[in-house]
């Protein structure tokens, strides 16, 4: 297949999300504005007002209602989209589990912002990390192109017959959401062709096999009381679907590459072949780290980087392969778990590597909370700390805070 015609245009992250969603033209968009996601809702309202989409736009009174409306719409057979951030995502918390537990392939954009209080509108990943166990596929974008690509792809992942789970497209508030970059966009027809029509899960009602949607011709109950004799079994189904998502996402990535020429991966190793000190992380700061890795390499330091694009399902095998035999590994994350042994990504990376015969020394570098800048100088500091760990052979300070005044 030939690569589809594309043109380059200037879009900020929110616009990239809104534009991709416009091209998909989902049946229902229910959303409530919250910084730094507001541009998505504003743009989409304009598309609706201008008649550029067929979507039913539901101007709800809260995020709890936004996602509830999406669950209802999706159960009725519609494609449903919403967008949120920070405390808006926190207000959705209850319905996050309902959407995933009822296997509704909703797509949600999250312009990652720290959770108040104290109140703050800037970026970190504490909102998405609070949702990590809810049963959503979670992808983290580094730049606006990834936001566009992931926002198109997300529908195919969500509706894949082996998945049928909601998908959260995460990108950093302001750093991505409000920053304009050049983005290659497909033509509407090619996006429509790529996403196709909504695929329904096959299930079984009292009258035999049916499509999983509310239809008077084939009545089923969605969201029944599910007690001690069935709930656990249904949770295992969800867990298995999430495991199956690894293969499904990979196949969607491959198809996407055929259309766009852009190869999307779960994990992106950078200069890891002979790395002696490396960092693993997610989101927009990965670009800055890559620059620092190049600088350090020019100075003779064998530095490396592993960027994670996929967080749920956690790509265990790909991550192990990408990390390889690096002796000292730093986890740089914009999240925390107050009272925990470390922040979420650190704990998961450590769990992933614990059984490896040559596991690296690992330290957690919490950075950028509440939008604090993670500068190249700070990243150099992290690599310097990792070099010390490597030389000494022990981790004296497993968790530290980058760029925080004492």
């Amino acid at each position: 297949m030939m690569i589809a015609k594309q043109k380059m245009t200037g879009l900020n992250g929110d616009e990239a999300s809104a534009f991709a969603t416009k091209q998909v033209d989902p049946d229902v968009v229910a959303a409530y504005p919250i910084t730094p996601q507001t541009i998505i809702v504003e743009k989409y309202s304009e598309y609706v007002a201008d008649g550029l989409v067929g979507s039913e736009f539901v101007a709800v009174e809260s995020e709890h209602s936004a996602l509830s409306a999406c669950v209802g719409a999706s159960a009725a057979g519609a494609r449903a989209f919403t967008a949120t951030a920070a405390n808006g995502l926190a207000l959705m918390w209850e319905i996050l589990y309902v959407a995933a537990g009822l296997r509704q392939p909703i797509v949600m954009a999250v312009a990652n912002r720290c959770l108040g209080g104290p109140i703050n509108i800037h970026n970190d990943h504490s909102d998405a990390m609070g949702a990590r166990d809810a049963g959503w596929v979670q992808l983290f974008c580094e730049n606006n192109q990834e936001v566009y690509d992931t926002s198109v792809e997300a529908w195919r992942i969500a509706e894949h017959p082996d998945v049928q789970l909601p998908v959260m497209v995460n990108f950093d508030g302001f750093t991505i959401s409000h920053t304009m970059e050049n983005v290659y966009i497909l033509e509407d027809a090619d996006v429509k062709k790529f996403v196709g029509k909504r695929v329904y899960m096959k299930t079984e009602g009292p009258r035999g096999e049916v499509e999983f949607r509310l239809d008077p011709e084939t009545p089923i109950t969605i969201g029944p009381l599910d007690l001690q004799d069935f709930y656990f079994e249904h949770k295992v189904q969800q867990m298995e679907a999430m495991k199956g998502a690894l293969k499904a996402i990979n196949s969607v990535d491959k198809e996407f590459e055929k259309v766009t020429g852009r190869k999307l991966e779960f994990v992106y190793p950078y200069k890891m072949e002979d790395a002696e000190v490396a960092v693993v992380g997610m989101g927009s700061v990965m670009g800055t780290i890559r620059e620092v890795v190049d600088e350090l390499r020019a100075e003779g330091v064998k530095a490396g980087l592993v960027k994670l694009r996929l967080f749920r399902p956690f790509p265990v095998e790909d991550l192990k392969k990408a990390i390889g035999n690096v002796p000292a590994l730093g986890v740089m994350e914009k999240a925390y778990s107050i009272g925990g042994p470390g922040a979420p990504l650190y704990e998961e990376v450590k769990t992933t590597l614990y059984d490896s015969p040559k596991r690296p020394l690992i330290a957690d570098y919490i950075n950028g909370l509440g939008g604090k800048d993670t500068s190249p100088e700070m990243i150099r500091g992290v690599f310097k700390s990792l070099q010390k760990i490597k030389e000494k052979g022990t981790v004296d300070e497993p968790v530290s805070y980058v760029g925080v005044r004492e």
Binding site: R103, T203, P206, I220, T221, L227, E233, V236
Partner: protein
């Protein structure tokens, strides 16, 4: 009591869809106790039948009531309401 074999996660319908009607879904194994009616003492008033929140107590042709253990959840409302105290709640083994 329900002695049917419940399906496992591999064969259960996806999306937690009930694959039976609620009548086919036997809930008798939920309870920890079951009512036992002593027909010697029973006055055939049928109050237990009317009070049962599950509709699990029916009236027989001979006027006595009987408990359908496939649906009885062992709540004990019948034993509590019985005016002649002929219903005993027995712990299930």
């Amino acid at each position: 009591m329900s002695d049917e074999k419940k399906r496992g996660w591999k064969t259960l319908p996806k999306g937690a869809v009930p694959y039976k009607s609620s009548k086919d879904y036997k809930t008798g194994d939920w309870g920890v106790a079951k009512p036992v009616i002593d027909h010697q003492k029973c006055s055939k008033c049928t109050l237990c039948h009317f009070f049962c929140p599950e509709g699990a107590i029916t009236v027989r042709a001979d006027g006595y009531t009987e408990v359908n253990e496939e649906y009885c959840k062992g709540c004990g409302v019948c034993a509590n309401e019985c005016p002649v105290k002929c219903i005993k709640m027995e712990m299930k083994k």
